[in-house]
C-alpha cells in the first residue's frame, strides 16, 4: 500500500471529533433538546477522537514495524 489509509482516515475522524466535542463543551446547550437531551456533539465527538486515535496508532505501528503485514 503506497499510503496507509488508516492514517488519513484516523486524522480526519480525530479532527472532526475534536471539532464536535469542542463545540459540545463550549457551545449553546439548548440545541440538544433536539437530540433527546443528549449532548451528542460531545459524546459522539469523543468517540470519534478515540476511533481516530486507534486508527492512527494502528497505521503508524505497521509503517514503522514494516513487518507486521496483514497479507495472506
Amino acid at each position: 500500500m503506497p499510503l496507509d489509509i488508516r492514517l488519513p482516515i484516523g486524522a480526519m475522524l480525530g479532527l472532526m471529533g475534536l471539532l464536535l466535542a469542542g463545540y459540545g463543551l463550549l457551545g449553546d446547550q439548548a440545541i440538544y433538546a433536539r437530540s433527546l437531551g443528549l449532548n451528542v456533539n460531545l459524546i459522539w465527538g469523543s468517540v470519534l477522537v478515540i476511533a481516530g486515535a486507534i486508527l492512527l496508532v494502528l497505521g503508524s505501528r505497521r509503517n514503522r514495524g514494516g513487518g507486521a503485514t496483514d497479507r495472506g
Binding site: 503506497p2 464536535l20 440545541i31 433538546a33 433536539r34 437530540s35 495472506g72
Partner: protein, 596 residues
Amino acid sequence: MTLSILDWTLMLVYFAFVLGIGFTLKRHTKTSADFFQAGRALPAWVCGLAFLSANLGAQEIIGMAASGAKYGIATSHFYWVGAIPAMVFLGIFMMPFYYGSRARSVPEYLRLRFDEKTRAFNAVSFALMTVFSSGISMYAMAKLLQLLHILDAPFKALGWDPSYIFHTCIAVSALVVLAYILFGGLSSAIYNEVLQFFLIVAGFLPLVYLGLRDVGGWSGLTRDLPVTLTHAWRGFGDPGTNAMGVEVFGLGMGLAFVLSFGYWCTDFLVVQRAMAADSMAAARRTPLIAAFPKMLFPFLVVLPGLIALSARPMAGGEVTPIVSSAAALPAQGLIPYKVAESTGQVVRDNDGRPVRDYDLAVPVLLLRYFPTGMLGLGLTALLASFMSGMAGNVTAFNTVWTYDIYQAYVRPTASDAHYLWVGRMATVFGIAASVATAYVAAQFNNIMDVLQLVFAFVNAPLLATFLLGMFWKRATGHGAFAGLLSGTAAAALHHGLTIPIGAAAGVKGGWIAMLHRYPSEMAQNFWTAIYAFSACFAVTVAVSLVTRPRDERELVGLVHSLTDKPRDERMAWYLRPVTLATIVLAATVLLNVVFF
C-alpha cells in the same frame, strides 16, 4: 435549512482530506497498472470496504431508507437474500478466474474466455452504463442539496443568484472527483470509498440510536407499525399479502439468484475492487470481508425508513423544515406527503390515499435528531457517498474504455505512458459526459427511464454467460454472443408484454401487448430477469453444442474444471475463504430467523 460555521467546517475537512489523499497518491501513480489496477497492491480489508462502499452511493442510502418506509424490514432482502450469497459465491468460486487469468477487467475476461465480439458487446454497454449512472448520481446530489436549501444562505451572503445552486453543485462535485481520480486513479477512488465507509458509520450510527431511543426501541416500532413492516418474511407466500407484491419463488429465483448474482459477480464496478487486491487470497477474501458489514447495513440504512414512519416531530419545534406547503405535513411520522408542484395539492394514489415522499426519510430524520455539528457530519456522510458513487463509476469507465475499447480497437500497441495518458483523458471525458447526463436527466426524466430500462435488458442475461463460461468448458464464443443477444431480446420482449397493476403502457411495460399483469413493478423486474437468464442460458448451450469448441489448453485458468483449485490449507483458519463464507452465511440465516 441553515448550517452553522461548524457544519461547513466539517464538510471542508472532508474535502481537504479527499483532495489530500489524491495528491499524496499522485507520486505513486506512474504506470497504467497503478492508475487502472491500483498496482494490485492493496490489502484485503481495504478492497473489502471499497467493494462494499462502491455500491453504497447516496441513492442507495436514500433509496433503501425509502424502501424501508414503504416495504418495511423486508427491504433487508436486498442485502440478506440479494447480496450476501452472491458475494460469497464470487469470493469462493469466481474470483480465482478473474484474478488468476491475465484479465485486467471483466470484459477482458470475456475476450480470453470467449471472443472479441462478446467482449465488445459487454465493454460498450458497460462503459455507457457507468457514465450514465455517474451522471444520475450527480443529478440526484444537486437536486437534494437544492431541495434542502443548504446553499441558500451562503449564496445570499455572497450576493449570488440562487438559480445557480444546481450548476454550482454539479460543477464542484465534478471538479473534486476529477481532481482526485486524475491524481491517483483507482487507488484514489478506493481510498475515498474506505473513507466514505467510516463516514457513513460515523454519521448514521448515532442517527439510528437517537431515532430508536425516541420511538421506544424495536419494540416501540413493532407496536406503532403494521406487522408486515416489522417482519422480513410475513406474507411472502402470496404476492397479494406483502407490500412488495412478490412471492417466494420470484424472490428466490429473480432477486436472490439472477439479479443479485448478475450484479455482484459480473459488474466490473465492484469486481474491480477485488481485482486490486495484493494476492489471490486477498482478492478472494475481498467480497467475504465486505459481506460482514453488508449483512449489518440494513440496521444503518433500512431502519431509518421505519423510524421516520413512527417518530414524532419535536415538541414545539418546526415539523419538517423541508416542506413548503402545510398540506404536505404527514398524519403520522415525519415523512411528508408528495405535493404536486403545479396544483399545490397532495398527490394521491388510485385508492385516494395520500402518497408519501419516501425519499425524504433520511433528510427529515437528520433534521429531526441532529443539532448543529452532528448535522454537518451527517450531511458530509451523504455527500461522501454521492462523490464516491460517482468516482467508482468513473474509474470503472476509464479502465474499460482504455483497455477494452481503445487498446483493443484503436491503438493496440502503444507505450504504457500513452495508455496512462489515455486513461486520464478518459477520466476527463467520462466526467464531462456525466455532467451532460445530469443535465439531460434534469430536462427529460423519460429519456432516463428508457435508458435505465435498456441497460437492465442488456445486464439481465449476463450471469448465464459467466456461469457457463466459468463452469462449462464446452461453451463457445458464438454461443455466448448469441445467448447474450437472445437474453437481452427476451428481457425486452417480456417487459413489452407485461405490466404492473395500476401502471399505464409505456416505460413501465406493456408497449407491445398486455398478456400478463404483475402485482407490482418489483415482481415484473424479477421475472424479466428470470426470462432473460433462461433464454441466454438455453441459447448459449444450444449454439455452443453446434459450434467448434476451443482447444482445452487455451482455457486453463479460465474454466473451473481445467484450473487447479486454489490451495488454502497453509493459511491460518480465520483467513481461509471457506471459513469466512461459512460464518457470514450462518449469521445471515440467523438474522432472517430473528426478524422472521
